[in-house]
Symmetry: C2
Subunit: 374 residues, 2 copies
């Protein structure tokens, strides 16, 4: 009688049923397990009946509660297993107020950049009982407040990956002490956050170029409404000044972290009366665009112009020449963000924390010594 209740045996169940209409409770069961449409739900009630206990006891076993006679527990466990019971999380969540889900708010999925962060989050989530609920804010321009409230109801915590306008979310979330962590954001003024050492990374990049003899270094900024964009620019400026490099506003052009802006930014830089001997793009995508522009201008990399990026995306090794860049530990950021979030889920009252991960220079082949320094 056991196997027929196990979902892989539905067909067999139907046959068996035809032969067993003298089992009155089976008819009852039929109502619950609508074969056709799906669902085929096995609830704790079914399991309880099968194991000959009350469903409260099944619940106890499910939740590893202490006071269950070992023998009973065993009987319930086998019933559970054989019937292919899977808990209904909605019901559990409704009851407990916890959903065992963490929400992920991202702006866009197309980029490998976010993919890497998510990979890290995912890897860490796999170690827990949580599942991942993904929301993109990219297409629909919903009110952040609505999104936050909505997601808040479905998830026990929220990971905001590089949200467009943090302040819109953070007000509500902080005020409610709703567990959340902002990923790739600097500072804990808006809430708990995980970031990378963007200033330090930019300084490292410029210092490296300077060590190769470059004195006129062009910089293509990232999106300046993001802290990473601002910080990388800051780092560039600090390094240029402290190293005594040529400090010309014309050497800074604004980009938006996307490849086309790298292309046009590089074009602008290359058309300067005195063109830079090296270009530092605030991320890899723009560096690729810059490389394209440099080649289209009939110049060679790194012979005529050196290029350095930021992020160390997988494609950095794929381009030719391979891209020297500043590595940002994206996956690790995802992992730590999740870990931090878990601590807030456990104790929402914890004070805000900001963790900054180090960046690292990855030397490849897109930078060379400056041949003719100005």
């Amino acid at each position: 009688m056991v196997n027929v209740l196990c979902y892989p045996f539905c067909e067999r169940f139907q046959r068996t049923f035809a032969e067993n209409h003298f089992f009155p409770w089976l008819t009852l069961f039929m109502k619950h397990s609508t074969i056709g449409n799906g669902s085929n739900k096995v609830t704790i009630v079914d399991v309880a009946r099968e194991a000959g206990v009350s469903y409260a006891t099944v619940s106890r076993v499910l939740n590893d509660e202490p006071y269950v006679k070992p023998e009973t527990r065993k009987r319930v466990m086998t019933a559970l297993h054989e019937m292919g019971y899977v808990a209904n999380r909605q019901a559990r969540s409704l009851r407990t107020g916890r959903s065992e889900m963490i929400g992920l708010l991202v702006r866009d999925l197309g980029t490998g950049y976010i993919g890497q962060i998510i990979s890290g989050i995912d890897a860490e989530i796999a170690e827990t009982d949580f599942e991942m609920l993904l929301f993109t804010t990219h297409h629909q321009a919903l009110e952040p407040e609505y999104v936050a409230t909505f997601v808040g109801g479905m998830a026990d915590g929220l990971l905001l990956v590089l949200p467009h306008n943090i302040e819109n979310y953070s007000g509500l979330l902080n005020q409610r002490r709703y567990p959340h962590v902002i990923v790739d954001y600097k500072g804990s003024d808006k809430g708990p956050a995980i970031g990378a050492d963007n200033i330090g990374g930019a300084i490292t990049a410029v210092t490296y170029l300077a060590s190769l003899g470059h004195r006129r270094i062009g910089f293509i900024t990232g999106t300046l409404s993001l802290t990473s964009g601002v910080d990388r620019l800051d780092g560039y400026r600090q390094a240029v000044q402290s190293l005594g490099l040529i400090d010309d506003p014309a050497l800074i052009v604004e980009g938006d972290y996307h490849q086309p802006s790298g292309y046009s930014g590089a074009q602008t830089l290359l058309s300067l009366p005195e063109r830079p001997t090296a270009i530092f793009a605030a991320n890899d995508a723009m560096a690729f665009g810059a490389m394209e522009a440099i080649r289209d201008a009939g110049l060679r990399i790194p012979g005529d112009v050196s290029v350095i990026g930021f992020d160390d995306t997988p494609q950095a090794t794929a381009v030719s020449p391979s891209l020297t860049t500043i590595r940002q530990p994206l996956e690790e950021m995802g992992r730590q963000a999740l870990q931090l979030l878990l601590t807030y889920i456990e104790d929402p009252e914890r004070p805000f924390e900001y963790h900054e991960l180090p960046t690292e220079l990855i030397v490849r082949n897109s930078c060379a010594s400056a041949r003719n320094t100005v």
Copy 2:
């Protein structure tokens, strides 16, 4: 009295509350809206009280049911809005048996490839009332049956993006008539699916190379446990034979869709006694690897060896020379997969459908005429 219940005004609420303890029901409300810990739930009961109706009426308004007096409806609507009511989907789902969520089962998120498919799905989801529940099978090697059952309980439909071993899922899902669509899979034998014309694309690629005068074309296969891998190989073979090109088994090396296998595959091909004048990699990632290997061998692209890929990932334009490739409409596949899934959610009994999207040759700069045909 209204504003104080609206979530953006919690602080104000606290203050107001201090002044208004003579409103007895407010105290009651406090219990529901625990300010500190979060939740701050506004339920239909709260709204009903505010609007002076029963909560059944609120529910009716929520579900656009006909028999509600316009005036009452209006009153409820304003209460709803001003209190910032957001439905509890778990409760609704528990009651209705529908979750308004669609599950997404992917193996990995790190690649831009899957990112693009998800973008398409996401774009289409944004037009519906559904949300997206993301599961990765990559890390945890859970039993597919368990995953399917589990996800099945939380979502109204399932999108399987390139699952490792479809048969493990498909049996259970089909038998239950659980709405699902397999993305990037060929044929509807295992269930409804969306795929791309991989055979045709591969034929196009080879035909194009042949038109440039190449007769000895190396092929680096994709993962052969995936239908796309098999089909692209098939297409290559068909084209080689029908066009009368050199048909040497040594010209086919096995890859796995990852860049390193493209590198090593190309090395193998280049070290053949008679090396091919063109290399067709079964996807772009391997093509990038192949390009690296070709350059490392001191050869030029496309001067000495032409390279063609498959997929048209964003990076295809970023490499140098830019990669000629076969475009696969990944985003569109995602979109159509979701659309198809919706039809199955509406009618689970629909017969399986398989939609195949066309592929397209994108000519860039990595292929040139064969100089010295063998």
